[in-house]
């Protein structure tokens, strides 16, 4: 996956977790929680979906790496570089 692919993968997960939100205007540098109605249970959903869709384990110590879109991509892209987008 490229960085763009990872970004799209994360947005797909977010769209499923927070279906009332519009992610078109997402600011990659701003905290996701400051832009959208997301709480700690939603972040656990992100972790669960990464596990289910991409077989990635995000240890609790790394949860802070999911705080912005850019930090998500920085963290996930090395882990996903050999994977295809989940359908």
């Amino acid at each position: 996956m490229t960085r763009d692919d990872v970004r799209n993968a994360v947005i797909r997960i977010l769209a499923d977790i927070a279906p009332d939100e519009d992610f078109d205007g997402l600011n990659d540098e701003e905290k996701l929680r400051d832009q959208f109605d997301l709480d700690s249970m939603d972040f656990l959903d992100i972790v669960m979906e990464l596990r289910k869709r991409y077989n990635i384990e995000v240890p609790e110590a790394d949860y802070e790496r999911l705080v912005t879109m850019t930090s998500c991509i920085d963290y996930l892209q090395p882990l996903l570089k050999n994977q295809q987008m989940a359908s």
């Binding site: 977790i17 927070a18 279906p19 009332d20 109605d37 249970m41 656990l44 959903d45 669960m48 596990r51 289910k52």
Partner: protein, 416 residues
């Protein structure tokens, strides 16, 4: 006995919010009961395939965000819909009402089976690795879930909890609301019952193993209490919540009053896990009459609990004969014949279906009786066609459940 001289002990129904397999508000539901329209259909359920069920088609997103629904349960969604509808129907000024003085009391037959089955199925897709088990499982399955989801959605900060009373729970929810209002623990109660049970295969499978699950090629003919060919229960989902208030509060704001809860009886058979007992039911009916200060002759309509099982219907008829056998003006009907058995919602929903009779004086019939079982041939059983009667002053609503829990609720026509 209810202290009728103390106005604050008089509890009235001022709003009705419901979803039933044949209606998403009281007017629609009542119309379909009078038209003989059933709400039973065939559905596919995990592991079992085709079964018969009563399915509700209310708009889940009328009062709920998509995320709320995703995080919550079907029971929560049913509850939120009914709570909003009841509050709206009551005409109460909800925005300015002290939310800490509202209590939410939801009767449930069971809760948690749906989500537990879903999670077990989910992890079965991952070789039963429990790290795939959802972190949402606990808040979805705690017993107070549907009441709690109503509290979160409507920002109600008073007490909220479930009343687990098997299939008597709908009546018990109303009774709990009355008690808390009389104790002045709250100033308004959202009270009744809720069922999501058609989304758990276990309920169907267990009734089937027990030989108590209904089947008929025509789903609308499957729930047929008192008919010789009845062969079991049709499971349904649904909900019905009432706004209950103390009479002086309701009168002060000029509320529309559907009826006054004047008495109830609750007891236990203490005999068998599943089989209903005429003695316990008879005692319960007499308790309700005594509680209301009434005689059997005073009652105009008895809504039976009868679930369309071969034995249970007969047992209830024995109890009704014991109490009402000499009362010529007591008319008996059944609502499950239209909507199936809405489990924890049944008592509250079935009462609601009868409330309009205070105004139109029509007893809706029990439908699908082609060959009346002689053992169920009560003198004044209203069969297949609505019955216009002269006066409806009191309705008695039966609701019984497994482990021998019995309840009867009496509601009086309120006249200013």
């Amino acid at each position: 006995m209810v202290d009728q001289k103390n106005p604050d002990w008089r509890i009235v129904i001022t709003g009705v919010g419901l979803t039933s397999p044949n209606g998403n508000n009281l007017a629609e539901y009542r119309e379909n009961l009078l038209q003989g329209k059933s709400g039973i259909e065939k559905i596919d359920i995990r592991y079992m395939g085709e079964v018969l069920a009563g399915v509700c088609n209310f708009d889940e997103f009328k009062y709920q965000k998509k995320k709320e629904r995703r995080r919550g349960t079907r029971a929560g969604s049913v509850g939120i819909y009914c709570a909003h509808e009841a509050i709206s129907d009551s005409g109460i000024e909800f925005d300015s009402f002290d939310k800490s003085r509202i209590g939410i009391y939801c009767g449930v037959t069971e809760h948690g089976n749906v989500e537990t089955e879903n999670e077990v199925f989910n992890i079965s897709q991952y070789d039963y690795d429990v790290k795939y088990w959802s972190h949402h499982h606990n808040p979805r399955t705690v017993a107070n879930n549907p009441a709690g989801e109503i509290s979160l959605n409507l920002k109600i900060t008073g007490p909220h909890y479930s009343i687990g009373a098997a299939c008597a729970a709908g009546n018990l929810g109303v009774i709990q609301g009355c008690q808390m209002l009389r104790l002045k623990e709250v100033d308004m109660a959202l009270a009744g019952g809720i069922s999501e049970s058609i989304h758990t295969f276990g309920i169907f499978a267990s009734f089937k193993s027990q030989g108590a699950l209904a089947w008929h090629e025509d789903p609308e003919r499957a729930s047929r209490p008192f008919d010789l060919d009845r062969n079991g229960i049709v499971c349904s989902e649904g909900g019905c919540l009432y706004t209950l208030e103390r009479l002086p509060d309701a009168q002060k704001r000029g509320a529309k009053i559907y009826g006054e809860v004047v008495g109830y009886g609750v007891n236990s058979d203490a005999v068998d896990f599943v089989l209903p007992q005429p003695k316990g039911q008879t005692d319960c009916l007499n308790m309700a009459l005594n509680n209301a200060g009434l005689k059997a002759d005073d009652i105009n309509i008895v809504n039976t609990h009868a679930t369309s099982t071969p034995q249970g219907d007969i047992q209830e008829c024995i109890a009704i004969r014991n109490v009402f056998g000499k009362s010529k003006n007591v008319w008996v009907n059944n609502t499950k014949s239209y909507i199936g058995h809405a489990m924890g919602a049944a008592g509250a929903l079935e009462l609601a279906g009868n409330l309009p009779a205070f105004e139109d004086k029509i007893v809706h019939p029990t439908i699908n009786v082609d060959k009346l079982d002689p053992e169920c041939a009560l003198d004044n059983l209203v069969i297949n066609q609505p019955k216009q009667i002269e006066q409806v002053n009191y309705i008695l609503n039966n609701s019984f459940g497994m482990l021998g829990i019995n309840s009867a609720l009496i509601v009086k026509h309120f006249e200013i």
